[in-house]
Symmetry: C2
Subunit: 488 residues, 2 copies
């Protein structure tokens, strides 16, 4: 029997030579090219004809016998009779093939993506200053954590996360954020997305309604959509989330997702009376408020506004924080702060839902906080981002006129520049992208009937010296809007 074709075709890279025959024989049997009952040559003669070591042939035969593809008997080796379906994908017909596509909920929840990866382009929002990251002190903390690492750090995390990190964060939040929390209320997560996903699955059921801000944070919509929640948009006005009576009555929420300290993306601050009303109404509706406090660490005008979480005892609020902006996104660590009544259950459920780990990194972060490096880094970055924000504001006013409306500069890493009617933000953003800018259109965060027209300008990773040039490019992107294309 002629079996040269077994070795003829181009082979997958990296496959060890002695596995090729085994792999090809199996393929031939499963595809039906070698029919059931076919007798194979003796190993010695096949080895000679294919110029292989006899051991290679023996390995292939023995392995395929073990797997049930070949049968060995006194007469030699023959191809086993396998179920009809073994004869390749054609036997089942193309019409019955699985539609290789994503689930309906995934298709519905996923957001359109910018055509170009914008992570480090000028004005890309949500990006910290990578160059200013304190590599040396962080690596020293990591090295100390590795030196002391035992099974506790190498294994799955304890309920709620590393005890030292929970304690360090409780102290930090009390000192810096004025939240009187204890370590048992803290659950370490692998970032804000994981935190929102946990809230969606552990605090809400399929079909429950979640309120999101409009305009608002797109990734939250993804988490809630994938968890099977009904996403209901609530407009944001100058005082923050502004639900109507119709919203409360007709779309009673189970979860209310807000960014009260620095609304994303508009940068507005929720007023105190709005906060208190929201807590009261949420209580009445048996709803949870998810308070995403994603950038209060970089508030420059005095302390951050008081978190809803700490306004009253036992409020139905889950406070979400992250190290993505204060340290770096790839660290994948964040935290939730929960009311006492549910903290232990939530921590245990988190363990089962996500099987968290990252014990070495958690220990290193606890060390980094305890030694004061974290507070020092925050102080340094607050000043640096503050200076950038001022410089950007001046450059924008110089370029677009003193009447240009800017908001959101009190905290965080981005400004919003509102655009007058007649200049379309999504078109500006597209032109800006072509010019190498990471600016996002406010409209892309907004759902009808709400309309918002403006640009979200991140300055976290934009050095002061680059601002003038980046703003010049932005001017081109904006001005090319009012010039009809045929005049170019």
């Amino acid at each position: 029997m002629e079996l040269d074709w077994l070795l003829a075709l181009p082979l997958p890279e990296n496959m060890p030579r002695q596995r090729v025959l085994y792999h090809r024989l199996r393929e031939a049997i499963l595809s039906g090219r070698l029919a059931a009952g076919t007798r194979l040559p003796a190993s010695r003669s096949l080895a000679t004809s294919l110029k292989l070591a006899r051991n290679t042939v023996l390995f292939a035969y023995e392995q395929l016998v073990a797997e049930g593809c070949l049968l060995a008997d006194r007469q030699g080796t023959r191809v086993a009779l396998l179920p009809v379906c073994a004869m390749g994908p054609s036997s089942s017909g193309r019409g019955t093939a699985v539609p290789l596509k994503l689930s309906s909920r995934a298709a519905a929840a996923l957001q359109p993506e910018p055509a170009r990866e914008a992570a480090v382009l000028p004005f890309a929002p949500g990006t910290p200053d990578y160059g200013a990251f304190p590599f040396r002190t962080w690596r020293a903390c990591l090295e100390r954590a590795w030196r002391d690492a035992g099974w506790r750090q190498l294994g799955y995390a304890a309920h709620g996360g590393d005890p030292a990190l929970r304690a360090a964060m409780a102290a930090h939040l009390t000192t810096i954020r004025g939240l009187a929390v204890d370590p048992a209320q803290i659950v370490i997560t692998s970032g804000t997305q994981a935190a929102l996903d946990l809230c969606a699955r552990l605090l809400a059921d399929h079909g429950d309604t979640v309120w999101v801000e409009n305009p608002g944070y797109l990734a939250a919509r993804v988490a809630f959509g994938l968890a099977g929640l009904r996403v209901h948009d609530i407009p944001v006005d100058s005082e923050g989330l502004a639900p109507s009576e119709e919203d409360w009555r007709g779309h009673s929420p189970r979860l209310i997702m807000i960014t009260p300290s620095h609304q994303y993306p508009t940068g507005r601050v929720m007023s105190l009376s709005r906060r208190l009303s929201l807590i009261e109404r949420a209580r009445q509706a048996s709803a949870w408020i998810i308070e995403d406090d994603y950038d209060s660490e970089f508030r420059r005008t005095g302390p951050a506004p008081p978190a809803l979480f700490g306004l009253q005892p036992d409020v139905p609020v889950v406070y979400v924080g992250t190290f993505s902006k204060t340290l770096y996104p790839g660290l994948r660590l964040g935290y939730l702060v929960l009311p006492h009544a549910i903290a232990a259950d939530f921590a245990r459920a988190t363990t089962q839902a996500t099987r968290p780990g990252q014990g070495v990194e958690q220990r290193a972060l606890a060390d980094f906080i305890e030694r004061g490096y974290y507070t020092a880094h925050l102080r340094r970055m607050r000043a640096r981002y503050g200076a950038r924000q001022v410089a950007l504001r001046i450059a924008l006013k110089a370029a677009f006129g003193r009447s240009v409306e800017l908001s959101g500069g009190e905290a965080g890493l981005h400004l919003v520049m509102w655009l007058p009617e007649g200049i379309c933000d999504t078109e500006v953003a597209a032109r800006a992208a072509a010019l190498g800018l990471g600016v996002r259109a406010l409209g892309s965060y907004t759902r009808a009937p709400m309309t918002c027209n403006g640009l979200v300008l991140g300055y976290g990773n934009l050095e002061e010296g680059m601002i003038a040039e980046a703003v010049q490019r932005l001017v081109v992107a904006v001005e090319s809007q009012v010039i009809p294309p045929h005049e170019n």
Copy 2:
């Protein structure tokens, strides 16, 4: 006005002294203790009476004015009129408080937990040998990755994960597992739990049926339950998953979760004809097979059985792998291998669903694999775990008799010791736990009407020298079963 009580009560630890007055005043205003309209003393006189620096009082007043708690006018400072709900939680009444509990799906999906944390007790399943982890080479890889880390590593991960890691894993899987995959088919995850959760949300919709093995891996049930899937148990026999016609017709699956190479927990191997039939039927039912290949790296009797993923081209199979057992669980890295037709969509969806990162660790792992450390570590651990398995098998036969039925020793890190009728595995496991053993009852992985009676004995973290003593404790746990308690 007497305001000494503002500083009287014990204060939260860690709160800076200058924030105490601010914090207490706010509390008093929000709780209604200081009524709307109340005039506060001038800052200078309050500072004198409380023995505080005047700046501390000014800070508190200014901050509370900014927040809307106080109003400043020509006559001085007074408490603002806040919404009725501001008067503390009592105003809303206890009856309307949010029930601070987990969602129904969480309550339904969560599994009972062992009373005692068993991670490093003798016989705890799923635990690698922490002491044998190659700390030195791994830390060297991490240090190299940190030295070269830029925004790509510090930021969110690229779609599908670090390109170098995807390439290294594609080559590794081709060499070691005989899977001809290319890097574009690989999606790096933060472990198996994340992988199962992604499959549940991205490939199935709420109410869809997922088949799980019975007995089977409990954490998979949690992931599927939290994603809103209907979990349907399929019995496992000596050839693997054994669905009936009634299962196919009455409980048509969208996902089929299996551990064909080393069934968890029984250790059985799915036969080739069962694999081929399952693929064929899954195609007809438009179902995805999730192939969790969690410990094939430690197969000792020749190469691992061929993965379903590679049996035929374009099979509706998602292959799940992890580094939790080959390296350490806390690393939180694993991978999916997907058919070409869906790989790019799945990678993009994963980015949006989880916003992954861990770029430095991913780069270090790619380096670790490329330099051959990974293969060398696997080889070393395969031999070590193999020796432990043999020693454990001998010790069990010596202790319980030669007829004791053991299964699952061909691969992985655990054996199953089947128990005769009359000895109840859950009772033995409870007694064993009291004796400091991490053994799990086979029954705890089993759902009625299926019954399995046996013990799952992990030996990954059990040094050979400790086996005899651990088995002696196990004998006590088993034998105390047949002696009625009153004879003790």
